[in-house]
């Protein structure tokens, strides 16, 4: 395996982390997410033991292939963890994404309801493990998949779903907008310090977070670790830290209805330029990625990766980038309407960031993902979307908070009936409406009504990404 060792990140135990925590494997364009189910504890442990050398750690930068994995709560249980140890995992992880109250918090109802999902649905096949496979080309990917299928067969592990991915050109997502620009920088991984860098503990267990505390980490009783594989727990010196150098992974498969998206823009405007402007207002950036806050009158290629901007001084009223736009909801930066100053807003918004790792899937509606061309296309019957994956150390404070309070809360920022125009769940139920989008302008805001769901959740689950030592522990101990 061709590798290149990275030099920074010395404060982190990169050798004990799975590579997905450190990088997105952008150099490996082929990726598959395999959802697996265990049938037998002993075989499952042997499967994991056999996999140990195949897992890419955080120290290396692979040039041809990489493989990482994560476990669901049922997967962890199957591996033999006892009730007391299991109770140390986060409540949200243990309950799972489809527990009725979690569904309520996440806004998964109607078209988003877990009952309609393709995988991870309540009462459906039990997903235990997520295997993330990356390769430099299709041929190598096929080889790895053959090897993995053989290993699965050998250890009685069932392949439930094989989720394909496809990177789109210019880092775009299927609606035609440049994605993945606003990622939090991790202090311990950065070569130089910048204001606003995040401590590793926001995303990796076993390190200090923004509160200068160690995030809650799963642990096991000291006597369980007879091989002394795990470090001492920060919480309780009598216990061993199972979470150190691991993370919680949130997976949501989000189907995108590209035809419906551009159709809506077309029907609500009088020209193609206006349709693109409306779509950009909903996103908060132009298709090339340049932010409306910095260039409200038209895209500017020079700013296509620009992430150094705020809202409080530049656009407090949302006249450039509407308050309800997707990027203002998922990262309100220094302007939360409910706060009284930019400093407090920034402080509050910073406590709810996630490290995104997902990839798009499906064939684009137009090869070059040009909005003008996509506007003219009829539905091709293909399924496409985004495998949203993020890493967090506190599922509720980070992922669920954003999903609940910012994305789906129709009162966000003092609005009346507006869920996130792009990824929010739009519906009407009695007096309750969440399907509007407001564009502030003079003399009165323009209200767009009856937004369909441009995205729909097709599957999802909460996972735990163990560190390398924890992986060894889970496969060898607890016999």
């Amino acid at each position: 395996m061709a590798i290149e060792t990275i030099i920074h990140g010395s404060d982190l135990e990169l050798h004990d982390m799975q590579g997905i925590l450190i990088r997105g494997y952008g150099a490996l364009p082929e990726a598959k997410y395999l959802l697996l189910g265990f049938e037998d504890r002993k075989l499952a442990k042997s499967y994991l033991k056999d996999m140990h050398l195949l897992i890419t750690n955080g120290l290396v930068k692979p040039k041809d292939q990489a493989m990482n994995f994560a476990l669901t709560a049922s997967g962890i249980k199957t591996l033999g963890i006892n009730e007391e140890d299991f109770s140390t995992f986060l409540r949200e992880f243990k309950e799972g994404m489809t527990e009725p109250h979690r569904q309520f918090v996440l806004g998964d109802k109607g078209e988003f309801s877990a009952g309609n999902w393709d995988w991870g649905q309540p009462g459906g096949e039990k997903v235990d493990l997520l295997l993330m496979v990356f390769a430099k080309d299709h041929e190598l990917m096929e080889k790895i998949l053959d090897r993995e299928k053989e290993r699965m067969e050998r250890f009685g592990v069932k392949l439930l779903h094989s989720l394909p991915t496809a990177l789109l050109q210019d880092h775009k997502e299927h609606f035609g907008f440049r994605d993945d620009i606003s990622q939090p920088r991790i202090k311990e991984l950065a070569k130089t310090y910048q204001e606003g860098d995040f401590p590793a503990g926001e995303f990796f267990l076993g390190y200090r977070d923004l509160y200068d505390e160690y995030p809650l980490s799963p642990s096991v009783a000291e006597q369980e670790d007879s091989m002394d594989l795990l470090p001492i727990s920060y919480e309780n010196k009598q216990r061993k830290d199972l979470g150190k150098n691991g993370s919680y992974l949130v997976f949501r498969q989000m189907q995108q209805d590209v035809v419906a998206f551009w159709e809506y823009m077309k029907t609500k405007t009088i020209s193609e330029e206006e349709a693109i402007l409306l779509a950009s207002k909903m996103v908060g950036r132009w298709p090339d990625g340049s932010p409306l806050t910095l260039c409200p009158d038209g895209p500017n290629m020079d700013l296509s990766q620009e992430n150094d901007f705020n809202f409080w001084k530049e656009d407090k009223l949302g006249l450039k980038c509407p308050i309800g736009a997707h990027i203002r909801r998922t990262n309100p930066r220094d302007h939360l309407v409910t706060e009284t100053n930019a400093k407090d807003s920034k402080e509050m918004a910073g406590k709810h960031r996630m490290l995104r790792k997902g990839r798009p899937y499906g064939k684009p509606l137009e090869a070059d993902i040009d909005p003008l061309k996509m506007m003219m296309k009829a539905d091709d019957g293909e399924e496409r979307g985004l495998h949203f994956i993020c890493l967090v150390t506190d599922i509720r404070r980070q992922f669920e908070f954003v999903q609940n309070s910012w994305v789906n809360f129709h009162k966000f920022g003092g609005l009346d009936q507006d869920a996130d125009p792009i990824i929010g769940n739009h519906y009407q139920e009695g007096n309750l409406k969440t399907d509007e989008f407001s564009v502030p302008q003079f003399p009165v805001r323009k209200k767009y009504e009856k937004l369909p769901n441009f995205t729909k959740v097709r599957g999802g689950a909460y996972f735990f990404v163990p560190g390398m030592r924890a992986m060894k522990f889970l496969s060898k101990a607890l016999e």
Binding site: S87, R91, K94, E95, E99, P100, H101, F104, V105, Y211, E213, Y214, L216, L317, L336, V337, T338, E339, T340, D344, E347, M348, K351, R396, R397, E400, F401, N404, S405, F409, H410, K411, G413, G414, D416, N431, L432, P440, F442, P443, V444, R445, K447
Partner: protein
């Protein structure tokens, strides 16, 4: 008419063995909510039975029934409204309490009985000076004006009008419409209510300034017995300082361990938050051991009550804090936007807010240790969240006048209405129009 939001807290002792029946009764009442028309001055009512708790590992604090309402106007009138609206329910529940007359009592006597059970509470409102009867009309007004402007936009000349011309035309339209011309008058009692709310703080400030002034003047002139007033300011400062020193000693007392809430109970509590916009939570916990803590908290609550005009907690509709059982128990209830899993974070996510609130919460069992009240130890946030949940109780009966509008919605509707009377500069009018 007073537009000040107030909190009424009624507390009744109850035998522990009756608590289950009381809570079942309240759950039954909760399913048959009183009409909004019957409670014209009331925003919220939280009603629950609280089990006994233990203070400082030795003293059992009694089981209680708490009824906490948020209302606008006079307390006496509010008690009458409550008795008129839920008198029968009150009688059924209070029959379980210690000291409630066995014989049938009249509404008048019931009001008197309730008034005697009322406790001091420090109350916060996130949408000050709006009465329940104004909530829906102000929402409808804003929606109507929005629709009216949209209609006018069909005339191309309207869009090119100046902001002042548009404001004038809106005001004319409101003035002419019999359903909305009430909005052209300022809400009655608004100014008076603002002054009344500031009066305690004003009086306190005046006394302190007077004390300083007399101290200064007495250097040159003999002021006779007036000079006693000069001691007021130093007395206040020294008392607070002394209390702080005594509190510091008590901060070192290790509180007994608490029973941390299990996942099942936690889920049961949060699963009750079924509203999409406004929800409620009740936290009741014994104080950490130490008599000066009780005094310090009592003083703090009264000082916080004085400055409530200036306090701000985002996304909170109403909140209250009070001490019970000789100051050995703290009750905290809040109604807020969205879910408590998000709301509870508002307190700890902001450094400044968590420091301010430590002045109240740090005295309570289950909450993290502090030094000199503001210096916090390791794991503050984690322990804070644990503390909140471990002492949270199910509110068995919850009435809310408004469950559809967020705090920002309420404030925005009010600001739009008040803008109808205001003279504004062009940029202010533009901002005002964005409220539509």
């Amino acid at each position: 008419m007073s537009l000040i939001h107030r909190g009424l807290t009624l507390s009744f002792k109850v035998e522990e063995n009756h608590l289950e029946q009381v809570n079942e009764l309240l759950e039954a009442f909760n399913r048959q909510q009183p009409s909004k028309e019957s409670l014209p001055d009331t925003f919220f009512i939280s009603w629950l039975g609280v089990p006994p708790q233990v203070y400082a590992e030795k003293e059992k604090l009694p089981a209680r029934i708490l009824l906490m309402s948020s209302y606008v106007g006079s307390k006496r009138k509010h008690l009458q409204v409550l008795v008129e609206a839920i008198g029968e329910e009150l009688r059924q529940v209070l029959a379980f309490t210690v000291g409630f007359p066995k014989e049938q009592i009249t509404n008048k006597s019931l009001v008197r009985f309730l008034a005697k059970s009322s406790k001091f509470n420090t109350y916060y409102s996130g949408f000050k000076f709006i009465s329940p009867k104004e909530v829906i009309p102000e929402k409808n007004l804003r929606e109507w004006v929005y629709g009216w402007v949209e209609k006018q936009l069909q005339d191309p000349n309207f869009g090119t009008s100046t902001p002042q011309e548009i404001k004038d035309r809106i005001e004319n339209a409101v003035e002419k419409d019999p359903n909305y011309n009430w909005a052209m008058k300022k809400p009655k009692g608004l100014g008076r209510s603002k002054w009344a709310m500031l009066s305690a703080l004003g009086l306190f400030g005046l006394l302190m300034v007077l004390s300083l002034f007399i101290a200064l003047v007495s250097i040159w002139w003999n002021l006779g017995s007036w000079v006693l007033l000069a001691w007021l300011f130093p007395f206040f400062i020294v008392s607070i300082f002394l209390l702080l020193v005594l509190l510091r000693k008590e901060e070192n007392i290790e509180p007994p361990p608490i029973q941390v809430i299990n996942d099942k109970d936690y889920l049961e509590i949060v699963s009750r938050e079924k509203n999409k916009v406004v929800n409620e939570m009740t936290v009741i916990a014994p104080l950490k051991p130490g008599k000066f803590r009780r005094v310090f908290l009592a003083v703090s609550l009264r000082l916080v009550a004085m400055i409530r005009y200036f306090t701000y907690i985002p996304t909170v509709h109403t909140a209250r804090w009070l001490q019970l059982d000789g100051g050995k128990r703290l009750v905290f209830i809040a109604t807020f936007d969205n879910q408590s899993e998000a709301y509870a974070h508002d307190f700890v996510d902001s450094e400044q807010r968590s420091r301010n609130l430590a002045v109240i919460f740090s005295h309570v069992m289950g909450f993290p240790k502090t030094t000199w009240l503001i210096k916090r130890g390791e794991n503050y946030r984690k322990d804070y969240m644990k503390g909140v949940r471990s002492f949270q109780f199910k509110t068995r009966f919850w009435y809310a006048f408004n469950t559809d509008l967020s705090v920002e919605n309420l404030k925005n509707n009010r600001a739009f209405r008040l803008g109808l009377h205001k003279k504004m500069k062009e940029h202010e009018i533009r901002r005002w129009l964005l409220r539509l």
